[in-house]
Every structure is written in C-alpha cells, then in structure tokens.
C-alpha cells in the first residue's frame, strides 16, 4: 500500500475472482460461464456500423435495454435499473440502502462479494451461519436490523428458497430493503418477481452473465418498486452515469428478446446438470440439489484442494474455496455434455 492510501482501502479485503486464464487451454468449469455461445441476435449487433457510433456517448438511461427487459418481464421501465454487471448493481445498492447505524445481514456461505461491499462502504455486517445441511433458515432473517442480502439460488451451494419463504423475510423487514440476488435463478423456478408489486422493500438483482451467455459484456439489472429504482438511479448518476457502454446496451437488448434460444439453451443446461449430478453421485460424491448452473460436491475422505489441483493438472478448472466449512467441496460449473463427460472421466481415473 502507498503512504497515501485511506483507512477504508487498508482495511479492505478485495474479492478474489476465479482464475481467468486467457489462453483457452483449459476446460473451464470454474466461473459459472455459459458453455454455449450468445444468441445469433447478439452477433448481429456487434458489427462495424455499431463500432462507428462508438464516438458518441452511450445512453445514460439505457432505454432500449430497459424496454427489452420490460417486454419479457411485464414491468414498467421505472421498475428496472441497469448496471455494469450485477456486481455494480449490488455495490450501488449497498451505497443507496445500507445505513451506517444498521447491520447488513447475509449468510456466512454465499456470494463472497457481500462482505467485501460492506467493508468498501464501511458498514457493520453479520454473516449468519447456514444450517448444517447448507440451507438458509429464514427464521434468522426476521429481525429487521438492516438490509438483507440473499442469493437465490444461493452460491456456491445452489440451494433455493421458495417464494413463500422469501415473503416471510419481506414481511418481517418492513424498514429495510431485502435484496434477492437471482443471478442463477433462470436455472430453477425460484424467482420472487411475483412479489414486486406487493412489497416496496423487495429488490431483485439479475445478470446477463450466466443464462444469456454474456459474462464478457458486463450487464446486470435490478427490478423493484419505482422508488427503490429511483434511488439506485440517483446513486449511479453520482458515481458513473455512463456505466454501460453502447455495445453492451444493444447486446443485452438483443439477447433477452431471443426467447427461443434462451429457453433452448437453459433447458440443455438443466439436462446436463441432472446427468452431471447423477454421474458424480455414481462416483460416490455428495452433491447438493442445485437450482443453478453449477453443482457443489465433495467426496468423503478426499481433500478438496488436492482434488482441485489434480483436476487442474489434467486441464480442468473448477472452483475451490478455502473457507473451513466448505474446504472439501468443489463448485463445478455445468458445461456441455462433452465437458462434463471429460470431468467425470478424469475424476474416475484419479479417484481409483
């Protein structure tokens, strides 16, 4: 650190993203990317004519992207906020809604960025332990003591909460925003979108990085009551008004409108997830029931880090976390049939 750095920066534990080797030499099952390419409609808007328009600023209101989102989800554009990836949406929600005197709450095992954001904004937070079976006990989130962050499906477990369970949390926290991070929700049926008209404190955060095969385009969005969205807009206009570039705005709009491709490819992932889960169990793994595009698995008597390293040696990247409670688990992205088969084959050979 330089002598000029602030206390906030010194005290920060930066988020450690999964490895991103740029040489494409690995079967990459470590960062929950989609194994299929984006929609053909996306390719159609990435062309030299659009490149020519890059001399002009992007639309700070992201109008065409918001309109495309509202066409699919039947909200008004005033209910939609767009960000440079869902990470930026989450960051701005911390700024907009997490008060200094409150305590932000989220599970101890969840998206690793929540505590990083809390420390970035100098906030107190409480990491509530998951139950023994890694499920969330909604009873732990009824104290109305601060903004609640719940990933649904949760990461890296893949476990989901029902709409009824989320509703209990919303009712018990009338004075605080409940943020439901639905990054992986398209791979399950656990969305809380149906509750948006009913609860003013519900904010749903979504991403194009997973189910739309657009991790590299950096597009996230939030859905919620118009007042919450207006607050996020104000935060954004105080931080980075032109947060989405011109191409990503067009790319997101094109991707979400292609429902046929979306349905088809997401179905394929669900099929592949079922087969991968079965195959891992066949090999003696404990695999949690995943509602996401990854599975969370361990094998009794096998060290998680050693297995991660062994797979890497064999050209397969998966994600390992050193946190005590989950250090023997691996988070494995659901890939194509071929990628999953290669993984199962490698595991079979190495676990003998």
């Amino acid at each position: 650190m330089s002598i000029f750095s602030t206390e906030t920066l010194k005290n920060m534990d930066a988020y450690v993203p999964g490895e991103q080797p740029q040489d494409k030499s690995y079967i990459k099952l470590n960062t929950n990317e989609f194994p299929f390419p984006p929609s053909e409609k996306v390719k159609a808007v990435v062309n030299s004519e659009k490149a020519e328009d890059l001399r002009l600023y992007s639309d700070p209101t992201c109008r065409i992207l918001k309109e495309a989102i509202t066409e699919v989800y039947d909200f008004k554009t005033e209910n939609v906020f767009c960000g440079n990836g869902s990470d930026e949406v989450l960051a701005l929600s911390f700024l907009a809604f997490c008060k200094k005197e409150d305590t932000v709450v989220f599970p101890d095992i969840s998206y690793g960025f929540y505590p990083v954001f809390a420390s970035f904004f100098g906030l107190k937070y409480n990491e509530i332990p998951l139950k023994e079976d890694f499920s969330i006990d909604t009873g732990d989130y009824l104290s109305d003591c601060g903004t609640v962050y719940i990933a649904n499906p949760n990461a890296p477990t893949g476990l989901t909460l029902s709409e009824q369970e989320i509703e209990k949390i919303l009712i018990a926290n009338p004075n605080h925003v409940v943020v439901i991070d639905e990054a992986y929700c398209d791979f399950s049926d656990c969305s809380s979108m149906g509750l948006i008209g009913k609860y003013k404190n519900l904010l749903i955060v979504r991403t194009f990085s997973k189910s739309y095969a657009l991790a590299g385009a950096r597009i996230g969005f939030a859905l919620g009551d118009r007042e919450l969205i207006a607050d996020l807009e104000k935060a954004k206009f105080s931080f980075n008004p032109y947060n989405l570039n011109r191409l990503s705005i067009e790319i997101g709009a094109a991707a979400i409108k292609d429902r046929e491709y979306f349905e088809k490819t997401v179905s394929l992932i669900k099929e592949n997830r079922k087969k991968l889960t079965d195959d891992l169990r066949q090999l003696g793994f404990t695999v949690l029931n995943s509602g996401a595009n990854f599975v969370f698995a361990k094998k009794d008597g096998v060290d998680g880090e050693q297995l991660y390293l062994k797979l890497k040696e064999n050209g397969i990247l998966v994600r390992h976390f050193s946190k005590e409670r989950i250090k023997d688990y691996l988070r494995i992205t659901v890939g194509t049939k071929e990628q999953n088969a290669a993984l199962i084959d490698t595991l079979g050979r190495n676990l003998k």
Copy 2:
C-alpha cells in the same frame, strides 16, 4: 427518495450530464464527443467472432489494453490502471486516496463531477475560486491539506497549466496525491507524464472518450507510481473486478495502437478549433484560448441561456452551465468544418 435511502444518498447532488438525445437530429456540440469515427482498426475487432467470446468473463487485469498503452507511452503495465470510463477511475481515486480527516481541493469552476464524488464518499472539500481571468493560481494549491484534483486542460475553460506549474503543486503536497485529469490533454501540449518517475504522489487520469472517438466504449485509464496503481487495483477488486467488458478492452487496444489515425484526426480538431475561435471572435465573442476539443465563449450583452436555447431551436446543441460566474458562457465542442460553419452561420443570423 424511498424511506430506505441512506443519508449519503439523500445528501448527494447527482451529476447532471449533458443532454444525450438518441435520435441524431441535432448537430451535437454539447458533450465534447469527437466528430470523426473511431479508427478502422476498431471496426475490425467489433465482429461476430468477438461476439461469440462474450460468453467468457473479461480479463480483470485488462492485460492487452495495458500493454497497448505502455507501448505508446513507454511505461510498465504496473504503472497503468484501466477503468470503465475515466469517471470510474476518478471515483476509485477518491475512495483510495482521500482521507476523511483531510480536505479535497479543486477549482470552483472545473469538472462538475469532483464535488459529486466528494459527497458520494462523504468527504470535506474546498472549491478554490479561479482567478478573474479563469486561470488557476497554483499558489492556492500548496497547503498539503488533502488530495488535489486539477483538470489540465481545465473544463469548461479549456485553459492549461504548464509542467512547471504542476511540478510546484507536486512538490508542495508531499503527503497527498495530486490527480491531474488529462481528459483533454491530447489536444494541447500540457501533459505532466514526464513527471511520473520523479513524483510518487502524481496520478494522471486519461480517457478514450475524446481524442480516440470512443465515448460510447467507456474506457479510461490512469498512469502513476506503481504503489498508487496497486492501490487503485485493490479498490477496483473490492468494487467491480470485471469493470471493463471484453469488447472495450479490445477496442481500446486497437484504437491506441493506430497512431497515424490518431495524429491525423487530432490535428484536424486543432485546425478546426483555431478557425472556430477566429470566427467566434469575428462575431464579437470573447473566447478563451483553448487547449481542449471545445471552446468557452460569451458575447457581451447576450444572455448565455437564451443563446443556448436559440441554438437548440435551430438544431444545434451546445452546453450551458447555470453557475453564476459562467452563466453567460457557452461551452462549444469543436466539430467538423461543416458543423462549425453551421454554428457560426446560425449565430450570425441570430445575433443581428
């Protein structure tokens, strides 16, 4: 505001960007965009093959973009930080270097985002009045009381400070970072880059939005001592690690490598600026000597807002600021020869 919003958000005065009509019906001289298209090399990397790769996360280290920047400017990649527009770079610099106990200092008339960032991060700031002739008195910036932000050329005046003057500020502020915002520097000869090896407290912020015709791609960068850059990287990894999308990383690298196109188009802007300045003076305007791709001008006895509205009525957008000291000035982006001629013609007809 919602009942959930934080005090920080409530107290914030969001930045008001220039108008961004999306229909292209105006001659747009209001947000300092480049009137020529980006390099042909940029168009070459915006294609369906690159679109296919969007399923993968972008490189959080922005390696190829940093390497392209170091090729041009002869630094090491450890001296370069990349952001989602220079606004994000500036925002992260506030977080990384502006201590709560200090007072951030910048001119009263400068980039309107500096006070917004200061309030975003809850910091005290001191807006130091420019001299009567709108120049910066470097004597006002020698107190070593907090991070200094100086736009050079300054906006919206277009006036520049010499390297010697910047050096005085650096020497007088050994305990604080001096941020020189060189967004418009390619249109003049006032860069402080030569001082980077010499002063550990110098951070230079640059953008691809102006001289590289890429406002819509959202690419900014900073140059400075490796410790300052490491601090910015830490801040970024705590906020939004994948802050640049895949396409913008490629686009920026392609643009900066095409030196021939850069030199040619920037020269044209300088020529056009000279002619525009002369023509405005011919019409009786006071025009400051600009080192940027805009001019700052007023005509005695003519109300600035009225003139802005009259031009808009005639299909020409320029920027007007309501701040008392400059409310009779217009900031006019230097356009193509034809755009500038249309402006002069419209002014001539309407000022009779």
